[in-house]
């Protein structure tokens, strides 16, 4: 074993989690090294060619507010941008951008290269070195060993191995022992993890074929254009600087013929023949799954999305598959506009080793191994944004561990990142975990528009957000507050012009003075529209107006969620003493005892979210803790 130097933080893997982890640690002053099996695959997007969407867009904004890179990277490399869900309520507006995959990847690589404290190294990490305490079950990380026998001593390791550990790709009867996109798999690292006593799971996901755009007749599909007004992901990006011509996507549908091709060949799919045993995601079903499980649906939507600006490759969203090559060809050719299509890359399913994330603390450090962190798909999540969010937090906390500081934890009431990590660490994942707005209890508070107001302070405290940026955010908050107080005092008198305006907007006219805030609350009206009738209305930046409008308009609902958060904080603040002997609490059901003993929750709130722990069990715990510690 050759000594390859001493490092503060070593990051294993250069995907979306690895990039954020390495940048965060390096930016916090840590001597950081990032290992990738192939440096050309830095920030690669092996599946869908977009960033954001519902709840994922929220994650990207939160990453930005905390000082991460993903938002800036997509702002500079998008080829189409849309704000989704505009009619469904402000908390679920969701920004989604189509990415130029190559541009996205090379810009991120350049950012890594430019980071002073960060070294990049193309090699496979095959082993984790650790010293055990006397018991042997727990211990501390000392470094990592590469395929060539190099030993990199470090204080903390962040595992971001994505879908590479013991990966194999399958379609039809073809089985290739490789990672995504033909990249080499990591063959030995998961055995090293197992020897540390870490329990592993086997998950499966999949991707559709890429088709040559020259062989598609787009005229027979519905075109889907980007928004005229482009909102950037990053609070730091000036919208004026990222204007560009956008590239459209297309919508088409499967039909009975498609379904019958699939049904006839089901027995040739490794999913149905029993070759694939790993757990797949319900929210990301293959087209064969959709046809079988929802057999009464006459058609399914299919989105044709460009993979970049300088390529004809098109991603066939909605039709991921592991059917044999000939069936894939026949199936895609049944779609209107794709009768003569040529497949450039086959769709495939991929199986990989990941860990059971319930072995992690909320800091993403392993409970049993000090200094060992993990982030991204290795934790059982799926999606670029989920990976990046975890990578950022693991990077911050690895750096803080190296500096002997307390970890930074985002609570469920503070951000989607908090919901994501709490879900993974508290419940573990039985299938690949996707972020969804429905997983967030307080989503009206966790909007994508206020991620900066929610999280900049944490980013600043952690050291990733500059003093200047934090000051700007505080100033914004103050202006919002000031304007809301002013508006609350304004009353409008009935006038011809006001009442004409109200009637034109389908709103009932006023006969006596009305509070401006009450008018703003009417569903058909808003703060911006009524500014013309508010004589003292100051000129404010758009982002301030947006907050004023939302906070006044939805005041009632927001207050209710704030009250719920108060409740949540109460139960969350009831700490469970470390090492509590659950087997002695006889009121708990056996399953609850076992789960609690295994998970060792940090507080009552976390205990209540463990699967297999019922509300009655929590009541028993409350009574027990009150009796035993009063």
């Amino acid at each position: 074993m050759r000594n390859k130097g001493e490092w503060d933080v070593a990051v294993v893997g250069g995907g979306h989690a690895g990039c954020e982890a390495a940048l965060a640690a390096a930016r916090l002053g840590m001597r950081t090294i990032l290992f990738a099996i192939n440096l050309d695959s830095i920030a690669m997007m092996p599946c869908n060619p977009n960033i954001g969407g519902t709840s994922k867009g929220h994650l990207v904004r939160e990453i930005d507010a905390l000082g991460g890179e993903m938002a800036l990277n997509i702002d500079h490399t998008f080829i189409q941008s849309r704000m989704l869900n505009m009619s469904k309520g402000p908390a679920v507006y969701s920004l989604r951008a189509q990415a130029d995959k190559r541009a996205y990847s090379s810009r991120m690589k350049r950012v890594l290269e430019n980071e002073p404290n960060l070294a990049l190294k193309q090699t496979e990490i095959t082993e984790i070195e650790a010293v055990r305490d006397c018991g042997g079950e727990k211990g501390r990380i000392t470094g990592v060993i590469s395929e060539s026998g190099g030993f990199y001593a470090c204080k903390a390791v962040v595992l971001c191995t994505g879908t590479y550990m013991k990966a194999r790709c399958l379609y039809g009867d073809v089985i290739v022992e490789s990672g995504p996109n033909g990249l080499r798999a990591s063959k030995r690292l998961s055995d090293s993890l197992r020897s540390l006593g870490i329990s592993l799971l086997r998950f499966k996901t999949g991707t559709p074929a890429r088709v040559d755009g020259k062989t598609i007749d787009f005229a027979r599909m519905t075109v889907q254009n980007g928004d005229k007004d482009i909102k950037p992901f990053s609070f730091r990006t000036d919208p004026e600087t990222i204007k560009r011509p956008q590239i459209p996507c297309y919508l088409t549908y499967t039909n009975e013929e498609t379904h019958s091709v699939i049904r006839r060949n089901l027995d040739r799919s490794p999913l149905y023949s029993g070759v694939i045993k790993a757990a797949g995601a319900r929210y990301c079903p293959s087209i064969e799954d959709k046809v079988v499980r929802f057999s009464d649906k006459p058609r399914h939507q299919v989105f044709i999305e460009p993979e970049g600006e300088d390529t004809d490759e098109m991603y066939i969203s909605g039709m991921s598959t592991s059917l044999p090559e000939d069936v894939q060809e026949a199936m895609y050719r049944t779609l209107p506009g794709m009768e003569g299509c040529r497949i450039l890359r086959n769709g495939y399913a991929i199986e990989y080793d990941c860990i059971n994330a319930s072995q992690l603390k909320l800091s993403l450090e392993f409970k049993a191994w000090s200094g060992l962190f993990s982030a991204g798909q290795i934790n059982g999540s799926s999606g670029y944004e989920e990976a990046a969010a975890q990578g950022l937090m693991a990077g911050i906390n690895a750096a803080r561990l190296a500096q002997a500081k307390e970890p930074v934890i985002i609570k469920r009431s503070e951000g989607y990142i908090g919901v994501l990590i709490d879900d993974l660490a508290t419940k573990g994942a039985a299938e690949p975990y996707r972020m969804m707005t429905s997983r967030a209890e307080y989503r009206l508070l966790l909007r994508q528009d206020n991620a900066d107001l929610r999280l900049s302070e944490k980013g600043w405290e952690a050291g990733l957000v500059s003093q200047q940026r934090w000051a700007l955010t505080q100033e914004k908050a103050a202006r919002i507050h000031e304007e809301i107080s002013r508006v609350r005092k304004v009353s409008l008198q009935p006038s011809k012009s006001l009442n004409r305006f109200l009637e034109e907007n389908g709103s009932s006219p006023i006969t006596s003075g009305a509070m401006l805030s009450d008018l703003i609350k009417r569903p058909e009206l808003g703060y911006r529209q009524l500014q013309a009738f508010d004589e003292l209305s100051p000129s404010l930046p758009e982002d301030v107006k947006e907050q004023v409008e939302i906070l006044i308009k939805y005041e009632g609902y927001i207050k209710r969620q704030l009250a719920q958060v108060e409740q949540f904080r109460k139960i969350e603040s009831r700490i469970i003493p470390r090492g509590l002997d659950y087997s002695s609490i006889s009121g708990l059901r056996l399953e609850a005892r076992q789960k609690l003993a295994l998970m060792q929750p940090e507080n009552l709130g976390q205990a209540s979210r463990i699967s297999g722990v019922t509300p009655a069990d929590v009541s028993v715990l409350i009574v027990y803790l009150a009796a035993a510690y009063s």
Partner: protein, 456 residues
Amino acid sequence: MPLTDTIAAISTPLGRGGIGIVRISGSEALGILDKIFIPKGGRKPKSYSMRYGFAMDGQTVIDEVLASVMLGPNSYTTEDVVEINCHGGMRAVRSVLELALRSGARLAEPGEFTKRAFINGRIDLIQVEAVMELIDAKSRKAEESAARRLAGSLSRKISSVRERILTLQARIEVSIDYPEYEDEEIGSLEVRREAEAAMEDLKSLIACFERGRVFSEGLKVVIAGKPNVGKSSLLNALMNEDRAIVADIPGTTRDVLSEAASLAGVPVKLMDTAGLRTPEDAIESLGVGKSIEALEDSDLAIWVVDSSEALSEEDAEACAKLEGKKVIIVANKNDLPKAASMDELRTLIPEAPIVSVCAKDGLGLDGLESEISKMFLSGEAEMDDSEIYINARQRQSAAKALESLEKAARAAGEGQAVDLISIDLTDACDSLGEITGETAGDSLVDKIFKEFCVGK
């Protein structure tokens, strides 16, 4: 550990029946029995058997008793449990309890046996509540219902309403989380329709609860009316005894008198109130205030008028206070010539039945009982077996759920965004979950994936 001490209490209601039972639970229960009980013939009781003998305070015999032993973990609390059945009336029961306390037991808090059963894993929360009600059930019907709840019929009915709301919510969530899937879009009209349908389900369930409550808690009935129409006489007649002071002086009753009675087989809490009129002094004013409070809290108002006099301003004043209440009009003093116009009475509260009585002689009361029975038991003396009774906390949760559904339906009607409506639906589900012990969380996400075809 606080849970391992031994507790004792009298486990039969005080003052009822000739036998009183002292129950002792905990690790010292058998030791205490040894100290205070001498079995006849010297043989100690085995688990799940009874022995005849004497409760002894040193050398003094206190009572002849039956002692039974139930060894843990097969007892109600899962601890060792001893029960001593005393025959000598309340004084003997109290003495035996004191004896047990002196011998090392601690006096149990109310419900502590059940709490121990709960903490020791013998029963769950809903069962705890059902047991509490069993102990407290005031009528046989409610007792049967409490027994059924243990088998889970309550949970099932609530769950089905909750399931309906959850389905609606899942549809909203899918439309939010998968905006690109046009098949899964849901409009506010449909949301409103579904929310209203769930409201109907819940309302009929709550109506069942309401009837159940009448049996388990008793119907709160306020006797109201202007002064000196015979309200207190009516109370006395219904009670068959003189509890209220009756005098011909208006304003005699200054406070709210409350008595338990049984009318038409329904347990009733009767409340006699000060006459509803503009008070003439400070004390009467207090009395009138209390009357109005009692009225607000009541299930039924019996409005008493004097049929021997023409209706007056004061009658109308009293009547105005009854707005929004279920009312039965009692035309009292029917032994005297009739002067009040029944037609006029009818127009004052059109939906209220009118019963003619003579409270002084107790005549016409059966008519009143049958109206009460009609109003609260739908005319049936026996209720359907599937009726459900729930306790106050659970009823409150159901009412909260209904309120949330109303908000959701209203917001949908105003064209509010579906995301905001989902907040009310979540509240409704949570409130119903409080009754059954189910929590939303994963069940919603599971539903989304199970029932909707979405995903890349």
